[in-house]
Symmetry: C2
Subunit: 112 residues, 2 copies
């Protein structure tokens, strides 16, 4: 089991901002997962990886793939209090789900 | 309501590594919070800030303060599969809790 969190590289998020957006996505996708997936992921060490996407369109395409695969996922928009315009899409989390299923969606992306 | 996540600056975590450790801490502290705190934080937009700490000792001192204040909190150790030695303490999350209580613990730290 793992969770992959994909963050945009094209909007100049600072390190702290990026980390907060990754955490938002992680929690939201986690909460949309079923109880079995949650439990299994937690007992397996809560594996998380953070990956790169070049833009908004790529993020939405990945989200659509996750939806088609039936995987828990969440797209995060920034409230825009700092750094970014309100509503800017920043991150996507996919999983927790079996690794091979997550890899079908995010397997081609580079590690952040 | 807010959650503060404190990350060490002295262990050379890469951006993706740091974001994953922040997300671990965020989820773990969230799960240790009571249902009212969770609900209130979620309805208020899940405010999160990411802050800096200079080392392990500072992180443990902050965790001890959070404990004394009765705030949900979590200290994260890295499994050490990559980058860091196994068991390295990386991050601390405090909250979700009322902002003024979180600030008693983390109010003097710099934004990441």
């Amino acid at each position: 089991m793992k969770q992959a969190i994909v963050a945009r590289t094209d909007i100049g998020m600072g390190t702290g901002k990026l980390a907060a957006q990754v955490a938002h996505a992680s929690l939201e996708a986690y909460e949309s997962a079923g109880p079995d997936a949650r439990r299994e992921w937690k007992s397996g060490g809560k594996k998380k990886i953070v990956l790169q996407a070049g833009g908004e369109r790529e993020l939405f395409e990945l989200a659509e793939q996750a939806r088609r695969e039936g995987l828990p996922h969440a797209v995060i928009r920034d409230a825009g209090h700092t750094q970014l315009d309100p509503g800017t899409v920043t991150t996507l989390a996919v999983g927790p789900a079996p690794e091979n299923l997550v890899d079908r969606v995010t397997g081609d992306l580079s590690l952040f």
